[in-house]
């Protein structure tokens, strides 16, 4: 139990409040007793002298009795009263300038003289000195009368003084009563205020905590920590509350991060799925681009053997070249091949074309031989481009069609160009061909060879917009240029 605990604080404040109230009441009691004491003191002297006077009166009877019949009981009573009166009179009588005191002092001396006179009378009576004791008795009677007069005078004087002070006493009494009442009211209010302050010190943090709990329930975890300077118990609750709030905030943050991460993973997965779908689509493109090569290859081999048996050499050569071309086309499913392989495939294809078009078609190869073994290129790009020119560029033209294939290196860019001197392409077709397919693009049942090449180039180099370009003009021919940045990796691993 620490000094700041609720129990200690409660005990402390209650004690303080009680002490304040008790002190106030004690003070009022002291005031009342003081007032009572004043009232008592005012009449104390008068009461004292009245008492002395009573003894003096009492003394007369036994004295007279003794003087008349010499009664021993009267004498005993007389002597007793004399002693009582002597004890009543203060022996020490200093002189003062106060007139009332001087009057009282004179009364003491007069009583002394009276008592001495009584003693003298007793002695004279015993000595039977009649004349003397009669004189003494007269003197004593005068003294008694004078003492009584003086006592009356002092009492009257005292009463007059008291009467004069009575109004002052009433004023003082009234003032003290009012002040006492106000003191009690203020003391009670002060004690009540102290208690309420303590209660407020406890309830205020609780209210704040309940408000904060409400805010937390609304999801506002960023509210600052609460710190109270209240009792230990409340401070502990505040600490626990802060801890709870921060923990919940932390857990919720963690959950949010986890959710975000899962979302990212889901997005990645979706992307991968789409990529996979695209790859499959590419594969489909490739497969569509292929005929049933094996069947054709075997058939062609049979044809070659038949031509050799029948000694048709040109047919045999034609079919052999065709078979070689098919062999090239059904090679392993690799996306990129050395540039040499593409050139060799193109040459086989041209050998076949020469048999079909011995005089109307000419293929010109402008190839830097140093490049063909250094660089790779997407598989099956040259033969479709040349095939496109053969099929579309020379329609309705009587002159010899020339197709020029050029491979060069422009700094780090491998430039592959296929050009013809045909009829050219319409502009809207070029635009259509050079538009990259979106993910939602639906492939048609038959994909053109040129379109296949263009889309594959966009696929492998999505960030390189100039990977492929078509320059054409009606009647002047068409040139298709592929620019492969040798330092940029294609987006699919080989």
């Amino acid at each position: 139990m620490t000094r700041n605990s609720l129990r200690v604080r409660l005990l402390f404040y209650l004690s303080i409040s009680m002490i304040i109230v008790i002190l106030s009441l004690g003070f009022i009691l002291v005031n009342s007793l003081s007032l009572q004491n004043i009232a008592h003191h005012r009449f104390q002297e008068e009461h004292y002298f009245q008492e002395v006077q009573t003894f003096l009166v009492d003394l007369q009877d036994p004295l007279e009795k003794y003087l008349t019949d010499r009664s021993s009981s009267a004498l005993a009573r007389l002597l007793f009263l004399i002693e009582v009166i002597r004890e009543k009179i203060p022996p020490d009588r200093p002189i003062s300038s106060d007139e009332t005191y001087l009057m009282k002092r004179e009364i003491y001396f007069l009583i002394d003289a009276y008592v001495a006179q009584v003693n003298q009378i007793i002695e004279l009576k015993r000595g039977r000195k009649v004349v003397e004791y009669i004189d003494s008795y007269r003197e004593m009677t005068n003294l008694y009368t004078h003492i009584s007069n003086e006592i009356d005078k002092v009492s009257l004087r005292g009463f007059r003084v008291q009467l004069g002070e009575y109004r002052s006493f009433l004023d003082l009494f009234r003032r003290i009563q009012i002040q006492n009442m106000l003191l009690v009211v203020v003391a009670t209010a002060f004690a009540y205020s102290l208690l309420m302050q303590m209660v407020n010190n406890i309830t205020r943090p609780m209210l704040q905590l309940s408000e904060m709990a409400g805010q937390l329930s609304n999801g506002r975890f960023e509210i600052p920590d609460v710190h109270f300077s209240s009792v230990d118990e409340v401070n502990l609750v505040a600490m626990a509350f802060n801890h709870m709030k921060n923990s919940i905030h932390h857990y919720i943050n963690e959950l949010q991060k986890q959710t975000e991460m899962e979302q990212q993973i889901m997005t990645e997965r979706l992307r991968n799925l789409k990529m996979e779908q695209l790859l499959k689509r590419m594969e489909l493109y490739t497969m569509q681009a292929q005929m049933n090569p094996h069947f054709l290859f075997n058939t062609l081999n049979t044809g070659v053997q038949l031509a050799i048996v029948e000694e048709a050499d040109r047919t045999a050569e034609f079919m052999e070249n065709l078979a070689a071309l098919f062999r090239y086309n059904i090679r392993g499913k690799r996306f990129f091949v050395p540039l040499r392989h593409e050139i060799e495939g193109l040459k086989l294809y041209y050998a076949i074309l020469q048999i079909r078009f011995p005089k109307t078609l000419m293929l010109v190869l402008d190839i830097d031989e140093t490049l063909v073994d250094r660089f790779n290129c997407p598989a099956m790009i040259l033969q479709p481009l040349v095939e496109n020119s053969v099929l579309h560029a020379f329609k309705h033209i009587d002159k010899t069609g020339t197709i020029k294939v050029r491979v060069s290196l422009d700094q780090t860019v491998l430039v592959i160009s296929v050009s013809d001197n045909g009829i050219g392409m319409p502009e809207d077709l070029v635009k259509s061909l050079l538009t990259p397919h979106t993910r939602d693009y639906q492939l048609g049942p038959k994909v053109m060879g040129l379109e296949n090449v263009i889309q594959r180039c966009y696929f492998f180099y999505p960030n390189q917009k100039d990977v492929i370009d078509i320059q054409t003009a009606p009647g002047t021919g068409t040139e298709i240029v592929i620019r492969i940045h040798t330092e940029v990796e294609p987006c699919i691993e080989l």
Partner: protein, 319 residues
């Protein structure tokens, strides 16, 4: 709410302390509370009892003041008793524990003499003021010389410029000294005026404060040619002045007053009163205490102390 408590609680505490302080101050500083505490007595070395006639006039008030002043100066206390024929105070004075007695005897009677004898028998110092009742080595007479008083009255009467003066001298029980020594006063008066005094009439007033009025009416009815009325008491002087004004005799009947009250001085300035003889009661009171103190200390002192007499006249109107 919290701010309210933070403000109100110290405020109430402060108010509580203020009220407590006010209450305490009331309790401590109120004269009734203070007087309730046992007062420490200012102790004096001796106590002297003065027995004076039952008169409220200024003479005795000033005599008391002189005695009080002396008591303060000489570290002693004085108490005043009224000397009346009925009172036993003076008879019992020897039992009072006083260290000395001062008495202003209004008359020389047997009771007074016996009482003084009893006091002197006890060895108590006695001062007789103005009037010497008994003569003893243990007594001192303090006051003015009655013969000189008569001479002073005569001097003022001469200042009226009249001859063949018919003077009425009014004694009073209120000033028994001059009354007791009436012959000395008259000798002094006559010796000074000589032939200028045609006739001297004497009357006496009682303790009744307005008694003088009746005396004056009676006197003026019987002796209408009175030139000057001389009085021996200040109260009688004022009553006589009023009577002369009422009778429209101002200027015709001159007044020689007694005392130096402010009203008497004003009448002197207006010319209603010719002049006034003034004793010095403060001096008498002071000297009485001093004599008692000296007798207490040394055992003796001068047998007679003359405190002198003064005359007040209007210097502007004096002839």
């Amino acid at each position: 709410m919290n701010k309210l408590f933070r403000l109100v609680t110290p405020l109430l505490g402060l108010v509580f302390l203020i009220f407590l302080f006010i209450s305490l101050r009331t309790m401590i500083s109120d004269p009734l509370m203070l007087s309730n505490q046992k007062a420490t007595l200012d102790k004096k070395s001796s106590q002297y009892a003065f027995f004076l006639p039952a008169s409220d006039n200024a003479f005795f008030s000033r005599l008391k003041a002189g005695a009080m002043e002396a008591a303060r100066d000489m570290d002693c206390a004085v108490i005043f008793h009224t000397l009346t024929p009925e009172s036993l105070s003076f008879e019992m004075a020897s039992y009072s524990g006083a260290n000395g007695i001062a008495v202003f005897s209004y008359e020389k009677n047997q009771r007074m003499v016996e009482s003084l004898a009893k006091i002197l028998k006890k060895g108590m110092p006695v001062v007789q003021i103005e009037n010497e009742v008994v003569s003893s080595p243990n007594t001192v007479l303090i006051g003015t010389n009655s013969y000189d008083s008569g001479k002073s009255i005569a001097k003022i009467a001469m200042s009226s410029g009249k001859g063949d003066l018919q003077i009425a001298l009014i004694y009073s029980d209120k000033n028994p000294a001059l009354k007791a020594d009436a012959n000395l006063v008259e000798i002094g008066l006559k010796s000074t005026l000589g032939d200028k005094l045609a006739q001297l009439y004497t009357r006496t007033t009682t303790f009744n404060p307005i008694d003088a009025e009746g005396v004056i009416y009676e006197l003026l009815r019987k002796v209408p040619d009175i030139d000057i009325i001389a009085l021996t008491d200040s109260n009688d002087t004022l009553v006589t002045i009023q009577a002369i004004i009422d009778l429209n005799l101002v200027g015709q009947v001159q007044i020689i007053g007694f005392g130096d009250e402010e009203s008497i001085r004003q009448y002197i300035e207006k010319g209603v009163v010719l002049g006034s003889i003034v004793r010095n009661p403060v001096e008498i009171g002071y000297r009485a205490v001093a004599a008692l103190k000296e007798m207490n200390t040394n055992g003796n002192t001068s047998a007679f102390v003359d405190t002198g007499i003064n005359i007040i006249v209007n210097t502007t109107n004096s002839r």
